[in-house]
């Protein structure tokens, strides 16, 4: 009954007209989709640290950031000898809503568009540089966040004489956005101060007294040593203290004169010396510039 199978098309063979139809549409391979806008365009050789910076120029030349948190990690990375690429940014750019954050360099083995994970500096800190007597370090860190930071917040955000400075640093250039942003910033700062001090009012005089107490304790802790806790090399805690002392003492920062943390700090010579020592160590190029200009 059945003829030779070669003479008849099989059950699953495509009928001739359909085959003709498909021949009209050639199978093409489309070019790869371009990466989304937010993806890093090129491979990063150096890790990039996103920080607050006044100008793009400042960030390029690696000058200290004006935000204590950013400056802390910037200093720490410089102490550790990690060469980073600074990118001026703001809170909206950060995955967690706060700066700084660090993007690790892309390694050639990984496919760049898939594995550009963001890492906060906290997670990859060099362990050898970190705390040696953890519990005491923690107590003194609490001193910074509990006593020095509220005074800093008050001076920068709430003190009326420093409003031009605050505008220059954090507020958007558009005049329409100025007032609401200023209001939001001030409310956030007030909340933060009230929460940390556990009081019901913001009392500038008391904040300054607390900050002076804190600085006195830090000065006593440092004593005649080069670095905190008698270490031979600077560490995390040095970077943390430096982030405040450098910004408070920076003459180019633009502080108003009448509520002065700098006057409190200037009384403690060893802290001023510590700041100078760490600055010279971490920013040797700035020192050379100063020499050249002079």
């Amino acid at each position: 009954m059945a003829g030779p199978p070669s003479s008849r098309p099989g059950w699953f063979a495509v009928p001739a007209p359909v085959r003709e139809l498909f021949k009209i549409f050639p199978l093409t391979t489309l070019p790869a989709e371009s990466l989304p806008e937010r993806a890093p365009e090129r491979a990063r050789v150096r890790p990039s640290l996103y920080v607050f910076a006044r100008t793009l120029e400042d960030a390029r030349s690696g000058r200290p950031s004006f935000n204590p948190q950013c400056l802390k990690w910037q200093t720490f990375l410089r102490i550790a000898g990690v060469d980073v690429h600074l990118i001026p940014s703001n809170n909206h750019a950060s995955p967690s809503g706060s700066l700084p954050f660090l993007l690790p360099p892309t390694t050639p083995t990984s496919t760049p568009e898939k594995q550009s994970s963001t890492t906060h500096p906290t997670s990859n800190a060099g362990n050898n540089l970190l705390r040696l007597s953890p519990s005491r370090t923690e107590a003194y860190e609490a001193l910074l966040s509990q006593s020095l930071r509220p005074a800093w917040l008050y001076a920068l955000y709430l003190h009326d004489a420093n409003t031009p400075l605050l505008k220059a640093l954090y507020l958007p250039p558009s005049p329409i956005l100025h007032l609401p942003s200023l209001h939001t910033l001030r409310n956030a700062a007030t909340d933060e101060i009230l929460k940390t001090t556990r009081r019901s009012l913001v009392d500038p005089r008391q904040l300054l007294l607390d900050a002076t107490d804190a600085l006195r304790s830090l000065s006593a802790l440092l004593a005649d040593n080069d670095w905190f806790f008698g270490q031979s090399e600077p560490g995390m805690f040095d970077a943390e203290v430096f982030a405040y002392t450098y910004l408070i003492l920076d003459e180019a920062f633009g502080w108003a004169d009448d509520y002065s943390l700098a006057q409190c700090l200037a009384k403690f010579d060893n802290l001023v010396e510590h700041k100078r020592r760490l600055y010279e160590r971490c920013w040797p190029e700035a020192l050379e510039e100063e020499v050249n200009t002079n």
Binding site: E138, A142, S145, S200, L201, S217
Partner: protein
């Protein structure tokens, strides 16, 4: 004479607040009890800076543990407790005090205020016994809201979403009492996962214990060495100001009988030295004699009413926050009475209120959108039979000569005429 205003006693401790406890311990150690008075005023508004503990010395008011401590030495009232410490020990004392405020404070807030079970079973009743009646409804919740805000950064808000799974009314509760045939038809409503069965404290136990461990080991490390029976932070001083402050926070971790005692559960077995420290500090306080308690002056009705109104205003959503920040602004700039800003605000609030009220009334008076106008007229002339549709109107036209008097009217007429009719009848009988 020094007057120390504090929050009143609770949980078998002299005060419910950590800093008040600390300053009481401090005073009791530096001053003889004849030279100061302890007043459980329970109202932060007694001091201008709206904070307890507050010290009243002559006309001066000083609030907070640290400022009071410094005032005592600067006004040469007595020697401080830290006189014998070396400079590095003083630095440590300041640093660890900051550490206590930064880390032990939020833990106490978590245990006593954020955890809903503990709040309902222990802390709120304690506040109720301190305050007088209408304030017990308004003030403790405000205090709790503040504590929740302070502990917010720990990310343990789920402690607040608590209810007792065994206390409420569940469908399964009466199941055993039902006959077998009924029981088969009631579906088993609750099949809880293990996670749902746990109390929030159990569910977040790892994080809670982590926080507690971080905080208490740091303190425990500083206390190492020294006297085993009476552990103190600095061995060469009898009691230092750091001891007092730590006592304030640690006692509130250890002493209150809370149902979810995650802090106590850690404190007792893991850091027995801190546990012993609290007991020995408390024993030392009682050993030095009674605290010089004095009943607070009775508050005037106006002041009491003002406090109630103030706490109620703070509860109003949205508006309450503005009110609170405005009051804070006034207190910070030490303004009293009416100034331009306050007048403007009051005017603004009144005008907005009037406008809103007028708008609401106008809205109420408006026709609903899209509804046609309908008017209703009373039907007087028609008979009652016509109310029964077509058949009714046919009957009524058929019975036209006989017009039934509406029954209401009828009875009314009879009532009015009643006494007259009776009189006539009586008259006819007499005839």
């Amino acid at each position: 004479m020094l007057h120390l205003h504090v929050w009143g006693p609770a949980f078998g401790l002299p005060s419910i607040d950590a800093e008040c406890l600390a300053i009481i311990a401090y005073f009791h150690n530096v001053l003889p009890s004849s030279s100061w008075r302890l007043i459980p005023s329970n109202d932060p508004a007694v001091s201008p800076s709206n904070l307890l503990p507050a010290l009243q010395h002559e006309d001066k008011w000083i609030s907070g543990f640290q400022p009071i401590k410094e005032y005592l030495t600067s006004a040469a009232i007595c020697d401080g407790l830290d006189e014998t410490l070396s400079s590095i020990q003083r630095a440590d004392s300041v640093a660890y005090s900051a550490y206590l405020r930064a880390h032990a404070g939020p833990l106490v807030d978590l245990s006593l205020y954020v955890s809903a079970a503990n709040w309902a079973a222990t802390t709120r009743p304690a506040y109720s016994s301190l305050l007088t009646f209408p304030l017990t409804w308004t003030v403790p919740t405000l205090i709790r809201a503040e504590a929740i805000k302070r502990a917010e950064h720990l990310g343990l808000a789920e402690l607040d979403t608590d209810f007792d799974p065994n206390g409420g009314l569940h469908l399964s509760a009466g199941r055993d009492a039902l006959p077998e045939t009924f029981r088969r038809h009631i579906p088993l409503m609750i099949k809880k996962t293990v996670h749902e069965e746990m109390t929030p404290e159990q569910a977040t136990a790892i994080r809670l214990f982590g926080l507690t461990e971080d905080c208490l080991t740091v303190l425990d490390d500083l206390m190492k060495g020294g006297d085993e029976e009476h552990p103190r932070f600095f061995t060469d001083a009898a009691v230092s100001s750091l001891d007092c402050l730590a006592f304030g926070y640690l006692a509130l971790m250890q002493k209150p009988a809370v149902p979810r005692s995650f802090l106590k559960d850690w404190l007792e077995p893991k850091t027995p030295r801190l546990h012993k420290f609290v007991d020995s500090m408390l024993a030392a306080i009682t050993a030095r004699g009674d605290l010089p308690w004095v009943a607070p002056e009775p508050t005037s009705v106006a002041r009491f009413g003002g406090r109630i109104l103030d706490s109620v205003l703070r509860h109003i959503p949205n508006l309450g926050e503005h009110y609170a920040s405005e009051m804070r602004h006034r207190a910070e700039h030490q303004k009293t009475g009416l100034d331009q800003r306050a007048l403007m605000l009051i005017m603004g609030v009144v005008l907005t209120g009037l406008a809103t009220g007028y708008g609401f009334q106008a809205y109420r008076a408006m026709q609903p959108f899209g509804a046609s106008t309908q008017s209703w007229k009373p039907r007087r002339s028609r008979t009652r039979l016509s109310e029964f549709g077509q058949l009714g109107s046919m009957l009524s036209s058929a019975m036209e000569p006989f017009q039934p008097v509406p029954s209401g009217l009828d009875s009314g007429a009879r009532d009015q005429g009643g006494p007259n009719g009776m009189l006539v009848e009586v008259d006819s009988e007499v005839d």
